[in-house]
Amino acid sequence: MRTLVYIELQKIFKKWRTYIGFIAIGVMAPLVQLALYFEGDNYLNFATRSFSDAFLISGNLMNGYLVGNLILSTLFIHIPFLIVLVGGDLMAGEATSGTFRLLITRPVSRFQLLNAKFIAGIIYTISLLCFLMLMSLGLGLLIFGSGELISLRDKIYIFASDDVMWRFFAAYGFSIISMTTVMALSFMFSAIVENAIGPIVGAMAVIIIFMILSVLNIDFLQTLTPYYFTTYMPEWQSFFTDPVDYSGVLKSGLILIGYIAVFYTVALSLFLKKDILS
């Protein structure tokens, strides 16, 4: 299985399409950091206006942790697209290029083949998120230094500098589950069709539609929000509150893992039965 996963990773990382995500992050993160370097005080003034009248503030709130947190917040729309670009191609790409004929006539089971691709997709997801962490938090700390983290959620939270880094690791850890759900969705679509465009567009459409439906203030639609996996994806933000709602995190995590299992199972059952006509 390791050999198969390695082969799949080679295939992923030899395609130019894979690097769109890394390039996008590599450009976006420094741009945001540059903007904050010059305009960051405006953001902080806004964030602290509720208490800056009553309080004197000392310390470096415009630091790498704030920058890392702001860039992490873009996870919602941008990173899922970069994930489905690769996830949607994992199975459909083989059909488009006709290489299923080469692979499935090898002495490997379809089960092994699909698993290798799925695992490779997860590894890609993790590597993209690690790169995001490096470029947003790592580079941010390098440019802006460290300090306390101000986080605007349901309240204004200011975390001591020694109370921040584990939160980032936990948030990114949870994001791996969120983004793996996105990858699994596009992977499932990829197993159904024979052209990668469909799964890519389809997966993004599902995410965007669910997100829109969940914010529409219509009673009926609001009753359906517990069934959208997108409802649970932002739970990583709980790690930037105090106290952390661990039960909420656990519940969301388990639900997302459940969705991953469903998407995977659908992909597997379709692929095992599929006649390879391409």
Partner: protein
């Protein structure tokens, strides 16, 4: 409006005990002048409803008549009120004091004095000061602000201390303040600073400052206060 207020207050207390409120306040100011300068370590504990801040430490500096400085190694938030309670600052504007009554706070005999600003230049509508009549130091201040709400400052002193410098200050808030109503999903909109919604809500809570390691009248150079202030 202000004159009517003064008239009402004065008339309501016409049968109060006779104390000279101005004298009492002057005694407080004079007592405080024995402090030429000081520096002190302060632990800050903030308990405000929509704000979650870790306990922090800072250093305060003061030099007569009104030089102040606040610095910390890391992040710290200090209520501005901390410097407002220095008698020099507290009573630095044109006001009319009105003695209300005597009151006991923790076995300390205090005189309750209303301070009414004579002009509109301050943020304060009305202040009430509890003055320890024996030791000529402020025990409590209650201020109504123009933004709405009140701020109450309670001061505690070490029994042995000969200087009117508190060992503990509790500032309680109940004021109206602008608050970014960012939800978890809108952090992005705040970055863009375009669509973020700012509302006003009651800022409710308290800040507890614990002072330690006072260094009084040891000589603080003016240059310290000329350095770029650490606080903003």
């Amino acid at each position: 409006m202000k004159k009517l207020l003064m008239l009402l207050l004065a008339s309501s207390f016409v049968f109060a005990q006779n104390r000279n409120p101005q004298q009492l306040l002057d005694d407080v100011t004079n007592k405080f002048e024995s402090v030429k300068d000081y520096q002190v370590e302060v632990s800050i504990k903030i308990d405000v409803d929509f704000l979650k801040v870790p306990d922090t430490k800072a250093k305060l500096y003061f030099k007569q008549p009104d030089k102040t400085k606040f610095e910390s190694d890391g992040f710290a938030m200090l209520p501005k009120q901390v410097f407002e309670i220095n008698p020099g600052k507290l009573l630095s504007f044109d006001y009319t004091p009105i003695y209300v009554r005597d009151e006991k706070i923790d076995d300390i005999n205090t005189a309750v004095i209303k301070i009414v600003p004579n002009s509109d230049s301050t943020n304060m509508l009305l202040s009430t000061v509890w003055v320890d009549v024996q030791k000529s130091r402020v025990q409590k201040i209650e201020t109504a602000t123009k933004q709405g709400g009140t701020m109450t400052t309670i001061l505690a002193y070490n029994k042995e201390s000969k200087y009117p410098l508190p060992s503990k200050v509790i500032v309680e808030f109940d004021v109206n303040a602008p608050v970014p109503t960012a939800s978890a999903n809108d952090q992005n909109s705040i970055v863009q600073n375009k669509r973020a919604v700012v509302g006003r809500r009651q800022l409710n809570g308290s800040v507890t400052l614990t002072y330690s390691d006072y260094k009084i009248n040891e000589g603080i150079p003016d240059s310290l206060f000329e350095e770029k202030a650490a606080g903003k």
